[in-house]
């Protein structure tokens, strides 16, 4: 069961506030599962012995508009094609109902712990695969209702459903996930494949990480936040975009704190708010700079607004070369310069 992957009594410290910040999202997921389960139960109850109350079924299917306008008994006898469930369909529906009812209340599945030395990507993939059972069950229900459930093909839906098989609607409803891990195991770039629909992942790390591990996950449509304050996760929870957060156990000057909100604007510098940027390390002459320096550079580049008197992308604007006033050139020359700057053959 999904709870096998959770940290059990490890939910505390910064994990509990993280879950609290995601409460609305959690509630939405569980409420949808509970509703699906209720609908399924009602459907099964209706179809068992359906022939006995066809008129009632017609009345409810036609909706309130038809009341007093359409005679449900006549509609049922003439136009309602209602068949009772087959034994096979009933079995599938019973199994699906069991899964849905288990998930409707299950909360532990939203927290997983990466064992020291473990693989973050694998842990997230496995958690989502287990949670995907709920979507698999829903699919099995639809197949059974349509008379299409083929045990050979579809029994897998009643066990687990990997994230890559989730459809668009399922990714929109995706349950949030909180992952506890050690700083050394924080390799988040592999999580890009999960940032779709409204997936929300919160990475909870105890200890020092590189300054901006999530910088590489910033894309125009992804909500990304690094923070030590769980309150900052509220925006992640309500964002209509997929999102990922890195929640530090405490504020450290060596760790960047920033927020990238796709709703905040059309340009990277409008979407990105940097609250704290660590100082760049001194790199000795002839020494190779640390790889994580690229994280900071990437972040700085995204945050930089091009000056208004030059075209976006011109080298001087982006590099912020102070003191070199832009030459008075014709717009066509500016455009040509900008185009050249976008290529590797610009002669520069």
């Amino acid at each position: 069961m999904p709870s096998d992957t959770s940290s059990g009594n490890g939910v505390g410290g910064v994990v509990a506030p993280a879950l609290e910040a995601l409460a609305a999202r959690l509630d939405a997921f569980h409420s949808a599962v509970a509703t699906a389960e209720e609908e399924l139960r009602s459907f099964v109850a209706h179809r068992r012995g359906a022939s006995e109350y066809r008129a009632e079924q017609a009345l409810v299917e036609l909706g309130p508009f038809a009341v007093g306008k359409i005679a449900p008994d006549r509609f049922a006898s003439i136009l309602l094609d209602l068949e009772e469930l087959t034994g096979e369909a009933e079995q599938v529906l019973d199994r699906a109902e069991y899964i849905l009812s288990a998930f409707a209340t299950e909360r532990d599945m939203h927290v997983v712990t990466v064992e020291p030395g473990g693989d973050l990507r694998d842990a997230v993939r496995e958690a989502f695969t287990q949670m995907g059972q709920v979507f698999g069950a829903a699919r099995a229900v639809e197949l059974a209702r349509a008379g299409l459930f083929d045990p050979d093909q579809h029994n897998r839906f009643l066990s687990a459903l990997p994230f890559r098989k989730w459809n668009r609607a399922e990714r929109q409803l995706a349950p949030p996930l909180v992952v506890e891990l050690d700083p050394d195991d924080l390799l988040p770039t592999g999580l890009g494949e999960f940032l779709d629909g409204q997936v929300k992942i919160v990475l909870v790390v105890r200890g020092m990480t590189t300054p901006a591990p999530l910088a590489r996950l910033i894309t125009p449509g992804t909500y990304v936040v690094q923070t030590a304050d769980p309150a900052d996760l509220t925006g992640l929870a309500v964002s209509p975009h997929p999102g990922i957060a890195l929640l530090f156990d405490q504020e450290r000057s060596e760790q960047a704190r920033f927020l990238h909100d796709p709703e905040a604007g059309a340009s990277p510098w409008e979407r990105l708010t940097i609250r704290h940027l660590p100082d760049r390390p001194e790199v000795g002459r002839g020494r190779r700079p640390p790889r994580w320096l690229e994280e900071l550079e990437h972040l700085e580049m995204l945050a930089r607004r091009p000056s208004t008197d030059t075209l976006p992308g011109t080298a001087s604007a982006l590099a912020g070369e102070a003191g070199t006033a832009p030459a008075q050139t014709a717009p066509v020359d500016q455009l040509a310069a900008w185009l050249l700057s976008q290529t590797n053959v610009g002669g520069g």
């Binding site: 309130p64 359409i70 136009l79």
Partner: protein, 632 residues
């Protein structure tokens, strides 16, 4: 709970009269783009949430942006409030707020204002630096003086400039504040509603609008000497407030429809705007096609593939979809078509109301293309009709046209929050392998209904065609097959007609002098007029039709109990007594044509195409004029 206002006490040194009313109409008119409608929508929503019956009607000029200060370009909204349910826009306006005297003049010339209306008018134009504007003002005042209006000049712009740089962007919220003081609206609700109306905008915009609201409220408290008190309903259930197009959109979601294909057309477009906000969240797709024809094609294709699809349009779009609707009927593909009617012909009156498409919706296709046509009468029905329409379309494998209109589309009214049911949603189509021997059009000879095949279904392979075909979907020009397939398509409608219930008579079911028959959005106005006529002793009743194709049973018998039957409609008919008009050549209201043809009863009609909803007072006058033997 009454929340504190803005801290401005009504001065004690002057008298403020409080008029207790049970029903009142308010209009806000301006140039296009000054936000009068937004102001009215918020005022209407706040009033509905406070427990008033509410009905709003938007006053929309024909052009997107007509010249400013032009009587023909008045843009605005009428809000009718009541201490009970309000079902129509009423007769004349009691309180008007005008952003300039020319917009006011436009309403005056249409006789929209009560002879003793109270008018709050922007005062800046009287002292405008441009002499031609001052002259227009003076001429307007002269023209307006032929009524007993009470005109109160309000320095709207001067006041708004204390908060905003561009008062064109602020007067509407200032006016909302004025009206909130006059009608004692709950300011906290008004603030909330402003927040809702400007959701998605920057916080400072909402804050500024709230400031303007409070400014208007304070100005009213300090300077005005009248207020209104209107009772409220005790709501027995939670209520929701929306317009008809929003109701259609949310009803489509509740009905489990999965794809809305459309091409923008006034006044239907806002259905897709609402769907655009919510549909995807529930697994739906809004598809804006390249044109009306493609929109119908996409919806038909999706439905053919087993999904629940619908298309949204207005009269000119319906005309373009004609061929595709014929295909859906012939190929027996379930499809819901929402037609938010406007005036015609051609592109007609995009922003005005008319019940113009009844006959086009029924008979628009070449050949015999039997399908269902129904018309919701209220905003609540706009919500629920979608479930019924979808279910009928699937049960009969045919097209169901839902006729709404501009009156319902933009009108806002409260109704009980629907208790949603999963059973309203479509069950997935049966995709089990097709048993051997079952054909794609295995018509049940009793009902004409056949099993729906879904592409890819094992054993269901066949060629789909829009040509005449036999049970196996094979093209066939054999006369007997064409006769049989036509009979089967028609029989579906007959079978469905057999499930319909005879409509109830509002008034005396046993009969009387006059029966007024209506359809669609006119129900509220007709029933109010009939109630007034009955209160005056006239033997008049009404009957409202929801199903127009097929018509419900029992109409001829009901009509036979009345000395005269007359339809009341918002579409064109020749007037008796006009040149060349005789009883034989007279062109009649659309429902009147239909009822005469189907019942052989001499059904008269009273119709108007003024581009506005019918007023109950005017219907009452028509009833009086058409009572057999004169008014009793």
């Amino acid at each position: 709970m009454k929340l504190p206002t803005v801290g401005v006490e009504t001065p004690t040194d002057r008298e403020v009269s409080v008029r207790r009313v049970t029903d009142i109409s308010v209009e806000i008119v301006s140039d296009s783009g000054e936000g009068a409608q937004k102001c009215g929508q918020i005022f209407g929503s706040v009033s509905a949430k406070m427990g008033n019956g509410v009905w709003t009607v938007e006053i929309i000029p024909a052009e997107v942006e007509p010249p400013p200060r032009n009587p023909a370009g008045a843009s605005g909204i009428r809000i009718r409030l009541g201490d009970r349910e309000v079902t129509n826009w009423g007769d004349e306006t009691d309180v008007a707020v005008a952003f300039n005297e020319q917009a006011l003049l436009g309403r005056h010339r249409l006789n929209a204002l009560a002879p003793n209306a109270t008018i709050l008018l922007e005062s800046m134009w009287a002292t405008h630096p441009d002499p031609s504007v001052r002259k227009q003002w003076e001429e307007a005042m002269e023209e307006l003086s032929d009524r007993e209006y009470r005109i109160i000049e309000v320095p709207m712009e001067e006041q708004c400039l204390t908060v905003v740089d561009n008062p064109r962007r602020g007067k509407n919220m200032f006016v909302l504040g004025l009206l909130s003081w006059i009608f004692d609206r709950d300011l906290e609700r008004a603030r909330d509603q402003i927040g809702h109306a400007f959701r998605g905008k920057k916080a400072e915009i909402t804050e500024r609008n709230v400031q303007l609201l409070e400014l208007g409220y304070a100005w009213g408290a300090e300077h005005l000497d009248f207020r209104y008190e209107i009772g409220t309903l005790e709501a027995s259930a939670p209520m929701v407030v929306m317009n008809g197009n929003e109701a259609v959109a949310l009803g489509a979601v509740a009905a489990g429809l999965e794809l809305a294909a459309m091409y923008p057309i006034t006044p239907a477009t806002s259905v897709s705007h609402m769907l655009g906000e919510v549909f995807e969240r529930y697994g739906g797709v809004v598809h804006q096609a390249e044109d009306e024809i493609a929109a119908a094609g996409v919806a038909i294709g999706a439905s053919y593939a087993g999904r629940c699809a619908f298309t949204i349009t207005s009269g000119p779009g319906l005309a373009l979809k004609t061929e595709f609707l014929g295909l859906a009927v012939m190929a027996e593909i379930p499809l819901v078509v929402v037609d938010v009617q406007r005036g015609g012909p051609s592109t007609g009156l995009p922003t005005k109301v008319e019940q113009s498409d009844l006959l086009a919706a029924m008979f628009g296709q070449p050949g015999d293309a039997p399908h269902v046509v129904l018309a919701p009468a209220t905003i609540e029905e706009c919500f629920h009709v979608m479930t019924t329409a979808r279910r009928i379309a699937e049960a009969l494998r045919t097209v169901v046209v839902v006729l709404s209109d501009a009156n319902l589309a933009t009108g806002v009214a409260p109704f009980p929050r629907p208790a949603l049911s999963p059973e309203w949603q479509a069950a997935p189509p049966d995709q089990r392998p097709i048993p051997e021997g079952v054909k794609p059009y295995d018509w049940d000879p009793r009902t004409g209904v056949s099993r729906r095949f879904i592409p890819g279904q094992a054993g269901g392979e066949h060629t789909l065609t829009g040509l005449a075909h036999d049970e196996r979907s094979k093209v066939a020009y054999d006369s007997a097959i064409n006769e049989r397939s036509s009979t089967m398509r028609s029989r579906k409608l007959l079978a469905f007609q057999h499930t319909l219930i005879a409509p109830e008579v509002n008034g005396d079911a046993g009969g009387g002098d006059l029966l007024v028959v209506g359809w669609g959005s006119t129900r509220g106005a007709i029933e109010e007029a009939v109630a007034r006529a009955r209160a005056q002793g006239m033997s008049v009743s009404s009957l409202h039709l929801t199903f127009l194709s097929p018509l419900p049973p029992g109409l001829k018998e009901i009509f036979g109990r009345f000395r005269k039957v007359m339809t009341v409609e918002i579409n064109y008919s020749d007037k008796k007594g006009d040149p060349f008009v005789t009883d034989h050549n007279r062109r009649r209201g659309q429902l009147s044509w239909l009822l005469r043809a189907t019942t052989l009863v001499d059904v008269d009609c009273w119709t108007r195409v003024l581009g506005e909803p019918l007023r109950p007072g005017r219907i009452l006058q028509a009833i009086r004029e058409n009572m057999p033997g004169g008014t009793r």
